[in-house]
Symmetry: T
Subunit: 136 residues, 12 copies
Amino acid sequence: MKLLIINGPNLNLIGQREEEIYGKESFLDYFEALKVNKKIDLDYFQSNIEGVMIDTLQSSNHDGVILNAGGYTHTSVAIRDCVKAIKVPVVEVHISNIMERESFRHVSMISAVAEGCIFGFGLKSYDLAIDYFLQK
Amino acid sequence: MKLLIINGPNLNLIGQREEEIYGKESFLDYFEALKVNKKIDLDYFQSNIEGVMIDTLQSSNHDGVILNAGGYTHTSVAIRDCVKAIKVPVVEVHISNIMERESFRHVSMISAVAEGCIFGFGLKSYDLAIDYFLQK
Amino acid sequence: MKLLIINGPNLNLIGQREEEIYGKESFLDYFEALKVNKKIDLDYFQSNIEGVMIDTLQSSNHDGVILNAGGYTHTSVAIRDCVKAIKVPVVEVHISNIMERESFRHVSMISAVAEGCIFGFGLKSYDLAIDYFLQK
Amino acid sequence: MKLLIINGPNLNLIGQREEEIYGKESFLDYFEALKVNKKIDLDYFQSNIEGVMIDTLQSSNHDGVILNAGGYTHTSVAIRDCVKAIKVPVVEVHISNIMERESFRHVSMISAVAEGCIFGFGLKSYDLAIDYFLQK
Amino acid sequence: MKLLIINGPNLNLIGQREEEIYGKESFLDYFEALKVNKKIDLDYFQSNIEGVMIDTLQSSNHDGVILNAGGYTHTSVAIRDCVKAIKVPVVEVHISNIMERESFRHVSMISAVAEGCIFGFGLKSYDLAIDYFLQK
Amino acid sequence: MKLLIINGPNLNLIGQREEEIYGKESFLDYFEALKVNKKIDLDYFQSNIEGVMIDTLQSSNHDGVILNAGGYTHTSVAIRDCVKAIKVPVVEVHISNIMERESFRHVSMISAVAEGCIFGFGLKSYDLAIDYFLQK
Amino acid sequence: MKLLIINGPNLNLIGQREEEIYGKESFLDYFEALKVNKKIDLDYFQSNIEGVMIDTLQSSNHDGVILNAGGYTHTSVAIRDCVKAIKVPVVEVHISNIMERESFRHVSMISAVAEGCIFGFGLKSYDLAIDYFLQK
Amino acid sequence: MKLLIINGPNLNLIGQREEEIYGKESFLDYFEALKVNKKIDLDYFQSNIEGVMIDTLQSSNHDGVILNAGGYTHTSVAIRDCVKAIKVPVVEVHISNIMERESFRHVSMISAVAEGCIFGFGLKSYDLAIDYFLQK
Amino acid sequence: MKLLIINGPNLNLIGQREEEIYGKESFLDYFEALKVNKKIDLDYFQSNIEGVMIDTLQSSNHDGVILNAGGYTHTSVAIRDCVKAIKVPVVEVHISNIMERESFRHVSMISAVAEGCIFGFGLKSYDLAIDYFLQK
Amino acid sequence: MKLLIINGPNLNLIGQREEEIYGKESFLDYFEALKVNKKIDLDYFQSNIEGVMIDTLQSSNHDGVILNAGGYTHTSVAIRDCVKAIKVPVVEVHISNIMERESFRHVSMISAVAEGCIFGFGLKSYDLAIDYFLQK
Amino acid sequence: MKLLIINGPNLNLIGQREEEIYGKESFLDYFEALKVNKKIDLDYFQSNIEGVMIDTLQSSNHDGVILNAGGYTHTSVAIRDCVKAIKVPVVEVHISNIMERESFRHVSMISAVAEGCIFGFGLKSYDLAIDYFLQK
Amino acid sequence: MKLLIINGPNLNLIGQREEEIYGKESFLDYFEALKVNKKIDLDYFQSNIEGVMIDTLQSSNHDGVILNAGGYTHTSVAIRDCVKAIKVPVVEVHISNIMERESFRHVSMISAVAEGCIFGFGLKSYDLAIDYFLQK
């Protein structure tokens, strides 16, 4: 099994900024630990550019994608269309509980076309998404 | 670790009805297997009555509650207030992907006061919620 | 043919209160006359508790249910889910013309999953629902 | 007792088109059988023109009108005003369950000024409306 | 000076129905008195059919039209387009105070393209519209 | 017969500003001509202060008030309450066609409690309001 | 004079939870002191179940009910219908200032059918409601 | 203890107008009786001018203000800002049950910044507000 | 191949009115040229009456209909139902760019049931619709 | 160059109240320093009364007005109309960042008719407005 | 004549995915055939990146652009601004009938600034857009 | 002090297009003059790509950023998140008065997280933003 984590805009800043929302751990440190713990083939990609995220989704040949589209979650019809069009199953994750934040974060364009969605567990949201693919 | 699963209205019918949404497996069969697989102390409670669910939440002395409030998810201020008031951490789960169903199911009154939310993975949504408590 | 009438909250007060809306006849008197006139096997159940109405719907083994969900009509996703989940056909009735009352009564959560809906004919709404099952 | 059925736009096509919604029976065949079965004096009028339906409502001298205003149901203030202005009692019927179709069909301009409303029972909706007038 | 009064749906019933809103005087009696009092060349047309009202507006060669579009006031883009397209100036009138009635009567599609609007003065609304054309 | 014209905020600027909307004539010149033409006892009051307009309405002992509340028209519950509370009949007027201007001008808080409303005829709107009181 | 206080869901937790909103005093301690101070015959009932609250309201034979419907305040048509249907006068109270909390708490289904409403004074809201019945 | 009652627009007319809403008693008579009954130092101020009400609030050196902002209740950000800015505690009162009147009266700009709110008890609303300050 | 163009209300005025929107060419001149240029069997029908347009659509035996429903485009459920019910394919056209005009023109009831839609190209919109049928 | 600063309701309290929003500096101290620093002829006017602010705007003969309309910003059509009607250019300023406060502060009636708008810079917002007039 | 087709996000997948919506033909095959059939100088550009589409639009020196902005159609103010700012005329096309899909696809930010719009004809939508430029 | 100006999509066209909105001056000419006049270290960056703007914001080590996000202003949660996450203070500017343009331009996603906002002063908006940083 080979999985891909795609992080969207500003998620490269995790661990450096807004620690009260995203925690103190850098995503790359977390990612390295994750590969070791889960013992799976795991790739990571981050971009601030919506269209480059779509390019990456389209060219993925993984068994599953774990997608945190960051700020594009709430407005991107293009990412939604991409998730629906590709054959690789996609699980949507969010670090924070998007439903207790501003109201414009309560809507996700992606949820309806993802296999499922996990949010609010901090970085553990990624753990749970991997567990899902492993148990499937 | 001792956990409690609370299922709300009509979730006693899982496996008997609307198999295209909820699958064919009975929840009780699934629950028995879950106890064996996860090797934890796990209780189960189901009610169709909103206030009885609140009674159960208030009197819980578990380490965590996994709550699928069914149809009350979308309207119940009372369950929300209860989840916020009690000290036991609550994870919200849904079997189906509520965001690809009718628009009145897109709003959850509970998400904002839960630790996090997992939906769309079929009965595996409960698995992942237990994993979360185990890893915590 | 065996039918069940389920009345929701406050409908036990029919004939005692708000006569300009619901008329002067007590529902139980009306019900007794109905059994005689229609010559069918007819049961009656009333509860003020949403979840108890769901319990009753789930355990019904009748050929049809005539459901007046009263105030729960306008908000209950849980009753809607139940009506959709069970195999017994359900006809929705209302005594008053809900469309000429307050705007929050103009929406019914139940209509879309019922076989059909009859409202505004006073207690005769129940008569017509029984006629429908008899003619079917 | 003398009743009048008024059908609005496109209801002349019943039995020829969209059989999954309206069924296979032609309305005229149904109407002839209805006259025989109900043993009442029954007239029938159909028009695609909103204002001609109003002309017919205004000039009716029947004991009751059974009105299916078709697509005008959802927007016509003029038919509403007419139903309210005339003395003949009007019952609103719909063949399909308008509440499980597109959202623009969920609003009826006519319901609030009709005696009552019956929808979702196929052509039997007309039967029940006649029953109402007979029992009244 | 030659003026035309166009009345829309159900306004032929003035004086016969809903006297608390429209008063007891028949429009034709009022119209005859109006011709005498105002000493102008005055025509009158009434139709329940939206498109026939448009035909009449298009073919008018009067110095002004006084238009009470009745129930079409609130929804008719077609009458609006016609009033805007023709060269004859149009004054909108209503007998009742449309702003103290149901909320769907608070919007007029016609006002923005009429010269002006007069409502709430009973049949005197027509008087004032004629005064406007005379003083102009 | 003794009438009072009350003009609200900025209407003292008529004839000096925004001539494409309000015309070139000063209101005071128009007012003087009006008194001569209509041969009635006519008072005039203008204020930019909402509460002073209310003071004036409350203390009026005229046979009628012609009220152009200017920018307060669209928001003032207080003026509405005053118009409803006093015994003197009030006619609402506007110089411009408020329905062809910005959408926030399409709603009047006052219309529903006034006898009637006249708008869009330039300064002639006041003429017509006086005609109404004279003919009444 | 005999009064009844009915508290809805989660109000049994007052004094134990969310002290920043509800204060530290237990409701039962407060209630005992209230009986002594006000020198009236005072009953108390609490339930988390909407329909059981309705049962209690229907069977009350008190001179007045003081109702804090908790989370059901904002959605319950059924409690509203009950308050309207019974003869016992009902005063609505809330401990917190519901208008400075989340927007879904700004709407009360009950206010329009209660005698009056008192909110935001902490437990003193109940005191004032009793004062009202005593002074009446 | 020294309290101030501030009444907003049109509340000087209480007892003279709209008796079905506000009752027959003049506010000044009521106020004189109140001073005697409550045995406190009580001032009274009424104005129809929003900004003068703000001036009064700003310069108050009382132990509490009882504010009925009348028609400004529903729209005034300026009064809200003032209530929030001053140190004197403010209790909002309304004579009528604003929630059973027109929908534009259902929103209060002031409630969220007041200590609490009392409405629907007729002139007794003021009594209860004074009781609150006395018991505090 | 035999096609039918149906034009709705006020489209008989093309070339005579509002030239800035619809151009100077009369539709009949354009139509004659179109028949010559496209070398197909082409019929033309115009009516201001919604129901007569429906009659014409129902009785069409052409290979395709090009429908410009004018002002009925934005509100007519009845024309929508008709287009959906008949077997002849319908292409929706508009002369002007309806999306740069008033907001009430941005919604078309017809688009969702037409084969496709072409707007904004002046009279060339009809050309393109014919091209579509020819290439099909 | 001669400029006028107009401050609306409650802005006389700057420096005394809500220091977390408006800072500790009194506006008059700030104003005196501003006159010295900017070396221009600068007037200052403050009122809590909407209409008095309009009087002042109308009678201004300055080269520019710097307007902070306080709580009237969000609702006043009358101030908007005044700013549009007068010839003196107006710059809108706000001390706080109105877009990070309550949602009812996100709309300004004035912005669309002002030359421009500056908000969120504390008292420096006034500095920048003066700079604009100086650089113009 | 030299034209440019610009396709937005995911339109590179046409012919490979979601054949029920977009058909089986690859866009590149279609494009090659188009160049042959239409005998014009035709360029093609596709990108998943919104800003790169804008770069391409800005640098176009063609006689016309045929733009299918895919998922950016519904949200992109930036593409709208670009289409409005450049001199090259732009025709908007969509393969599917966007009005019979999800409601968030019913709004196009681009239509109002394009010359016209063609949608719902499958790949033939591009054909018709080219025809338009050729006939112009 | 070292500042950075970031311009978003289409702002490279300033001075070339839509002169009635943006003026005739090229931004680069203006920028060069600005560096000379303000005597500060000033960088400039423009991109049509949302994510590249985010990259630039994240890597900025300036003392302040002046951000005109162009069309992304109104929809970009991603830029908002970036502005909030970085430590460099950001001032939002717009050349035109966005509040007098289309309603979709009235909302800014960025304002609430910027230090402040300046709009409507033409290119001088940038001047004022620099003044702010200089005076700070």
